[in-house]
């Protein structure tokens, strides 16, 4: 007897409560990797299509606008081959290379990757608790806590040895984020406080506390009076920039830390006993308890590790290109990175590869539509940013819709009509 039929029977017997996966999930799990990417791809295509309608509505040609976005992202860097002399990072040696690493598109690409870095990490901050059945909305707050602690450590301890100072900053930022998310994890584990509520509240606590710290007369306000911005971090604490101009937001090695964290995440979830516990708790807490696991401990750990990712994102941004933090940054960009990370995690279906790809997509979108990169004769940059938000929102909306499931339903309907 093949398992297809058995599966069929099982679904008929499946309770509607949602504890048993849908046939689509079953299908996806059997051909994971092949069909796994189809849903998210369809989601993205549809999101671009619908926002294309918005572009048409304001009298522009969507294809031309998207081409301008594409050029702005710098991803066209990869398709222009030639013969170039390129300096190897951190040296004076020049070698031949098939891509021009000093072109405009190279600079745009640096910005895209710079933006992608924190998105990867805040997306992981959502993806990991998701596997434990928790919804961490607090990536933003954890990011800011990591940022402010990094700035504080970075501007203190002047004269410390570079690598040590960097390591200390990264460590403190990471632990800060972990601690902040750990509060929500602890509340959940101990008293069952819903993590959505607690992380949202913790976001605002973080934002307004930091706003106070950096504000007029605040303890972390810099030496310039009347400017609510922190001091710059020590030069020694800045992350090495390996590509692009040092003074104009070149690309720091932070991107490699983020990529390494994708690998760490994959290992943790798929290969470690902790990941096994987290997944078991996420799928079925009762079975996890029966298997001898502590559900509370896993809730706490999943949140704390997630916070570590988000805190690390803040630390890397501070050490990589921001260097100082202003009161207005925190207040005005209150929801940005966290929300984009959320969209990236949803689109990437909480897998390491998916999160990486989705983060690159959103990093590219943000960069491609920003005033600095976008060709202004084609689209007004102030509207372009809104378009990013629209696409982002549409993605979240369509991810929620489960396009593949919808398509399967439609096929079934059509199949039925055809037999009549």
């Amino acid at each position: 007897m093949s398992d297809d039929e058995l599966a069929e029977e099982e679904f008929e017997a499946a309770p509607p409560a949602g504890e048993v996966p849908s046939p689509q999930q079953h299908f996806a799990s059997r051909f994971r990797g092949v069909t796994g990417a189809l849903g998210p791809l369809a989601t993205v295509v549809l999101a671009f299509f619908v926002s294309g309608i918005a572009i048409v509505a304001i009298g522009k040609n969507p294809l031309r606008v998207y081409k301008a976005f594409w050029d702005g992202t710098g991803l066209n860097f990869f398709i222009h081959f030639g013969s170039h002399s390129v300096r190897i990072p951190f040296s004076t040696t020049h070698v031949w290379f098939w891509w021009d690493t000093a072109s405009i598109s190279a600079q745009n690409l640096q910005q895209t990757l710079l933006t992608t870095t924190p998105i990867i990490l805040t997306a992981l901050a959502l993806a990991l608790p998701f596997r434990a059945g928790l919804f961490n909305i607090g990536g933003q707050g954890q990011y800011w806590v990591g940022s402010i602690l990094t700035v504080w450590v970075g501007e203190s301890f002047i004269g410390l040895n570079g690598p040590v100072h960097i390591a200390l900053c990264l460590l403190v930022g990471t632990l800060g984020g972990a601690g902040w998310a750990g509060i929500a994890g602890f509340l959940k584990a101990q008293w069952g406080v819903h993590e959505v509520i607690s992380t949202i509240m913790l976001n605002w606590i973080a934002i307004w506390t930091i706003s106070y710290l950096l504000g007029q007369g605040g303890p972390l306000q810099g030496s310039q009076p009347a400017i609510p911005v922190s001091n710059q971090i020590a030069d020694a604490a800045k992350l090495p920039i390996f590509w692009g101009p040092k003074l104009l937001q070149g690309l720091s090695i932070g991107i490699f830390i983020a990529l390494a964290m994708l690998v760490v995440y994959w290992l943790l979830i798929n290969r470690s006993t902790l990941g096994y516990e987290i997944r078991a708790v996420g799928f079925n807490p009762d079975a996890a308890r029966y298997g001898g696991m502590s559900v509370a401990r896993n809730y706490f750990l999943a949140m704390a590790i997630a916070g570590a990712f988000a805190g690390l994102a803040g630390a890397i941004d501070m050490l990589g290109w921001r260097y100082s933090l202003g009161q207005l940054d925190v207040e005005n960009q209150a929801g940005q990175i966290g929300f984009i990370g959320l969209a990236a995690a949803l689109l990437g279906r909480n897998t390491a590869l998916g999160v990486g790809a989705a983060s690159l997509l959103f990093g590219a979108l943000l960069t491609g539509t920003s005033g600095r990169q976008l060709d202004q004769s084609i689209f007004r940059p102030d509207l372009a940013g809104d378009l990013t938000t629209i696409i982002q929102g549409l993605v979240v909306l369509f991810v929620g819709l489960n396009l593949l499931g919808l398509a399967a339903w439609w096929r079934r309907r059509r199949g039925r009509v055809a037999t009549t």
């Binding site: 058995l6 504890e19 516990e277 997944r279 799928f283 079925n284 308890r289 039925r416």
Partner: protein
């Protein structure tokens, strides 16, 4: 067959990728009969009924109603043809009232928009009076019992004008008493001229309620026979395709020292009521101790407390000479307790996990399944392969998700995991619930093997027959207390009396 059939399925064939779920199935339903559809899990019963109800489109074959071909391309069409289905898991909205659920989608309206609740209520009341299905139209679905929910499902089908009712494993979720009440309802529906297709894999039920029985095996009709003259062993053989031992063969027990001792145990349930009230018993090496009792007399709480899943209020639990009263689930597993939980979907398995992952649910944190916090996938996979073979788990490889297996095979996975951990004491809570005869036989044989291997087995079951055929000693629990102990030679009547709290003085 002189009488023309009301409904006829002719040559129904349904293929799913890689499998033939229904292969040229013929079935006819006469007016006013109860026709049982019998078969093992995975035999294609539900597929066939879902075709009839319009959920699936058959690849081949026709459906005839009163001799005319009909098209049931959708559930809407099948309802219009007077076919109603009560699914095994109910399709009700928990926060709405009984009346609201019944009239849903075809509500009587006031002024075209507003629900005319008074009229809905009245119609529901009329219906329930006519068919003797007592329900309170104003009760909320989540506040009534499962048996009552099932009545609401039946009323919903009747409200929509069903003449033919499909009942998919209707007794699976019911207590024995509720099942008897359901049979009364079925008989009354029959008297009112309704025709019923009754899907089941329980032989005694089918013999009790049906007039004719169609047996399906691997998607094909084995035969259709009248219930009169049919026997349980005969039906079992038709279902499984070979002779089945309904009674367990076993040698006399070779008992040794006590492995599990429970002393004056008191445990509270989720509502804070004392549901285990001073239970004392022991399980010795090499014996199966059966705990009989009507559902919800403290069995679940007792098992949970022993297994470390629920705190002990007072009393002692001793496992192989060591006091483990305060130990949690992990410590109990390490101390040598195997536990086949009563609900394999809620506890026994992580359904989206692969079989290999499910098989290490306890062992994942120990060598050689993991080293330094990393899972050793090679070892885990090889172990899974060996166990799936040893326990004859069909329908899956180590990578198959657990939900893709039939109930019987899922239970074999749980059994494999618990037995392979080499426990000193094995708690088997309702180990055959929802399984078909072939799988029941397998589970029973394995449990007796454990006993013969010198382990202590504590069997908790609501099926008295199962307790009687497996146990070396039988305890009866009633309202959280052990009220009687019987030797395996006791009769069902004696034990049954003790289960309902009667004859306390006589026993023990």
């Amino acid at each position: 067959m002189a009488e023309a059939p009301l409904l006829e399925l002719r040559g129904i064939t349904k293929r799913f990728p890689g499998v033939l779920a229904n292969d040229d199935v013929n079935l006819d339903l006469r007016h006013g009969e109860v026709h049982a559809l019998l078969g093992e899990n995975g035999a294609g019963k539900s597929t066939l009924m879902n075709i009839l109800y319009g959920l699936y489109t058959p690849d081949e074959g026709q459906i005839l109603l009163n001799g005319k071909t009909i098209d049931v391309g959708s559930t809407k069409a099948s309802i219009e043809h007077g076919i109603g289905m009560v699914h095994q898991h109910f399709m009700l909205i928990p926060v709405m009232t009984v009346a609201e659920n019944i009239v849903l989608a075809t509500e009587p309206r006031k002024g075209g928009v507003l629900l005319d609740y008074a009229s809905a209520r009245k119609r529901v009341r009329d219906l329930s009076d006519r068919y003797g299905l007592a329900v309170d139209p104003d009760a909320r679905i989540d506040r009534i019992t499962v048996g009552q929910q099932q009545r609401v499902e039946i009323l919903k089908a009747l409200y929509r004008g069903a003449e033919i009712l499909i009942l998919d494993e209707p007794t699976a979720v019911l207590t024995p008493q509720e099942a008897q009440e359901l049979f009364e309802i079925i008989r009354s529906l029959q008297e009112q001229g309704k025709s019923i297709i009754f899907i089941s894999h329980k032989l005694n039920e089918v013999l009790e309620i049906a007039q004719r029985i169609t047996v399906l095996r691997r998607g094909k009709v084995v035969d259709t026979i009248p219930a009169e003259g049919a026997t349980e062993p005969g039906l079992a053989q038709m279902m499984v395709g070979r002779e089945v031992l309904l009674r367990v063969d076993k040698k006399p027990a070779q008992t040794g020292d006590a492995l599990l001792q429970v002393e004056d145990l008191h445990v509270f349930d989720d509502r804070g009521l004392e549901s285990v009230r001073g239970v004392t018993f022991e399980v010795r090496k090499g014996e199966i101790v059966g705990l009989a009792g009507v559902d919800a007399n403290g069995q679940s709480e007792l098992i949970d407390a022993i297994a470390g899943l629920r705190p002990v209020a007072s009393g002692r639990v001793v496992l192989d000479g060591r006091d483990v009263t305060k130990d949690g689930a992990r410590d109990m597993i390490d101390a040598g307790l195997g536990h086949i939980p009563e609900d394999r979907h809620r506890r026994g398995l992580v359904l989206p996990f692969s079989l290999a992952e499910n098989l290490v649910l306890h062992g994942y944190r120990k060598k050689p399944e993991s080293r330094r916090g990393l899972l050793q996938l090679g070892t885990i996979g090889r172990r899974a392969k060996r166990l799936l073979e040893e326990f004859d788990v069909r329908g899956g490889t180590p990578d198959t998700p657990a939900f893709a297996l039939s109930g019987g095979n899922q239970q074999k996975v749980v059994l494999a995991r618990e037995i392979d951990a080499d426990p000193k004491v094995l708690i088997a809570a309702q180990p055959t619930r929802g399984l078909d005869v072939g799988a029941i036989e397998f589970v029973h044989r394995r449990l007796v093997e454990q006993r013969d291997a010198g382990r202590g087995v504590f069997l908790v079951s609501l099926e008295l027959e199962e307790i009687l055929s497996l146990s070396d000693r039988i305890l009866v629990i009633y309202e959280g207390q052990i009220v009687a102990e019987f030797p395996p030679t006791a009769t069902e009547e004696e034990i049954g009396l003790a289960m309902t709290g009667g004859g306390r003085e006589v026993a023990a």
